[in-house]
Symmetry: C2
Subunit: 426 residues, 2 copies
């Protein structure tokens, strides 16, 4: 099944002629590659344009990493971190290693203790590194790589070079020069794909494949999503409907969107989603503020605020229909915990009732409700979901007259920190 | 040092006679145990009233758990989960086990896969369980305990009882009856302490001690905080100042507070803080919405929104002055990464510059800035910090004329779900 949307408001609100006209035009611009930020539309037809040769290169490199390494340290921040982390977490099993290498991130923050302990941790394991930076000049991953590159050269000598993989721009940046000089194997971050839209490029695919997940299925989901959610037919385009609903609610004063899940494995999909929407829309004093909760945990936390606090929230549930493993409540002899009334109910069914109870209570409490439903957490459906959010985000930002593909505030921060650190040239 | 507050506004804004009078009255009410919700003020003088006998009981029980077990499964949700999790994460080392047992949480969400895999994971390890539920009737932990209790009885037979520890109300609830019937060792959640204020009771102390952390130092910090932040002298009371600043900003239309850290170990302190403030203040259509970011990671994500999005945000930094382990950037021979200009700078110093750059940029972008600074992440300072937030939250909620100690919305959800599940009596 494709992604389903339910909406607590009147569907006429979001399928009005005005929304349909605007979104049809936005879609047309995306296809024609025109409009604000159109230099960064590489992600839009990436799944349908991606070649088998490229996918095979990813798989073969992943195979080489798996055959030589126990651990792959992935160095990246922002879009070079959140996408592959989101996919790997969503596909992981609790308390069980994946079938590939152990992937450990670094350079996603700055911590001497983290790096020192990481180097100690991997000392008795075989290691490879994938350093990812689109610009090749972002400070945090560059700092982590300075320490880890030295570590690798001390440990592996001249063989270190064959264990270091670089994913960066094909034309510019200090990481490119370093890779060329040292002879590291290189992969490209296409110049026309921004960090937060890069999960289906080598940025995401190489770590995901090395961790043992099926990137062919992931891309099959993304490719189908490109067709499903790129259709001009509003009534069959859930991504357009989601964008319209967000815009409608925002204009009614609902300025905070809470993405709510009932599966803890989706917590990094939520973080990735926050970057995608926050960084794409949060400009010119506009944009829905993206927040997230993990239920039922947070029903015993932020649930109170959502039920009764300031009425400027709307809530989007991301529901998963089927789980791989479930348990069913059994009848207990003494019923000391008084739970026998639940006997025969599975824990997944409990969560579905939890969803119904919560959604109804929050709607009654004045919080508009959306729900997106996917079938299950596997490569295909995660690929579909991430592409769905990417194109929804483009539709949504353009409805606000915002360029979805730049990030002037992040560039401000980078410049500020270079100035304070007295980087030559700043 | 005590917790330091800096505030980007005019300190006269928050030290006005009106704030001082209101907060002096609130403080007096807390000391006299009067005012809305005063039945739940047990936490307020808990640190100074706590006996050595109680602390020794916690330590001895933790010792017993450590000597018999590799893993302690802590079953709890909301306040019975977030407090001890926050303390343990803040005190942990990356990639290294603590000196105590491995603590694994359960019942903080509902997942058949999680429980099934957990039981498999602990099969070759010695296990104890601490099940925590103030009411003794919350469904999620009760469900997890039904499965895990059966597991323990199958595995350990009659000896299971000596490996199960129950923390619950002393007078009522099905968990109390179950514990009495089975002869489990019991600890009390005081009736006058709500879940989100319970970290310094057995709810938090037993798991924290079992994990190998020094609860005596934790409580020394909390006890000092009770004195420091309970003083009537506004100019020396950072907790009153923090509450006043939040209230001042809220009334100016800054309705979302972002708690920002530069240390990933504080992520569960942030989650605990969200519960504390969100559940205490989010009532009657009022309250600051609590959100959080982890820098520098999120400078490459929500940073854009904070810089340039809707101007209804204020930001509170939680800064840590000293780290235990640091690395210093070294001079590289070829300088291929162009980072030699940072040689001699430690990574912690980099984070301090990151804080300055970020705070200045966000302030210029129209986001009022607060900063709380603690000396370091050890038991003493974490104890001080958590008490600081608890009393700040009471001051803050009373400034909004909100009872900080009830949670009618959470009770609504519990009732809703009981009705949908057709629990007898609902």
């Amino acid at each position: 099944m494709t992604i389903q949307l339910t909406y607590s408001g009147n569907f006429e609100d979001i399928s009005s002629t005005s929304f349909q006209e605007k979104l049809t035009q936005i879609r047309e611009n995306l296809h024609q590659k025109v409009g604000a930020g159109s230099d960064f539309l590489g992600w839009h037809d990436w799944p349908s344009n991606m070649t088998d040769a490229f996918l095979n290169e990813m798989k073969e490199t992943a195979q080489k990493i798996k055959s030589t390494s126990d651990v792959l340290i992935v160095i990246g921040i922002g879009g070079s971190y959140l996408g592959s982390k989101a996919v790997m977490e969503a596909l992981s099993s609790y308390f069980k290693a994946s079938s590939g290498v152990e992937v450990i991130f670094a350079g996603h923050h700055v911590s001497g203790e983290y790096l020192a302990n990481l180097m100690e941790y991997v000392n008795d394991k075989e290691v490879s590194i994938n350093v990812i930076s689109k610009s090749g000049t972002t400070t945090e991953p560059a700092l982590a790589f300075r320490f880890l590159q030295t570590y690798m050269e001390k440990r592996y000598g001249v063989d270190a070079a064959s264990r270091i993989y670089v994913t960066t721009d094909a034309q510019k940046g200090s990481l490119l020069h370093l890779a060329t000089e040292k002879g590291y194997q290189r992969f490209e971050v296409p110049a026309n794909v921004g960090g937060r839209y890069s999960v289906f490029t080598a940025v995401g695919l190489l770590p995901i494949a090395a961790a043992g997940y099926d990137i062919q299925e992931l891309m099959r989901g993304a490719k189908n999503a490109e067709a499903f959610y790129g259709t001009a037919d509003f009534s069959n385009n859930t991504a357009m409907q989601y964008a319209a609903a967000r815009n409608f609610l925002y204009n009614k004063g609902y300025e905070v969107e809470i993405l709510a899940t009932f599966d803890a494995k989706l917590s990094f999909v939520q973080e990735w989603w926050k970057q995608l929407f926050g960084e794409s829309e949060g400009k010119e004093g506009k944009g829905v503020f993206p927040a997230s909760v993990s239920y039922t945990t947070d029903l015993h936390s932020l649930g109170q605020y959502i039920q009764d606090g300031r009425r400027f929230l709307f809530e989007t549930f991301l529901n998963v229909q089927k789980v791989q493993t479930d348990l069913t409540v059994f009848e207990a002899e003494n019923n000391g915990d008084e739970l026998n009334y639940l006997a025969g109910l599975s824990l997944q069914e409990f969560n579905k009732v939890g969803y119904e109870a919560t959604s109804k209570a929050h709607l009654d409490g004045g919080v508009p409700q959306l729900a997106l439903t996917i079938e299950k957490l596997d490569e295909y459906h995660i690929g579909e979901l991430l592409y769905f959010f990417m194109i929804s985000c483009a539709y949504s930002a353009y409805l606000l007259d915002i360029n979805p593909f730049d990030q002037p505030g992040v560039e401000d921060y980078k410049t500020n920190i270079f100035k304070l650190l007295k980087k030559p040239g700043y």
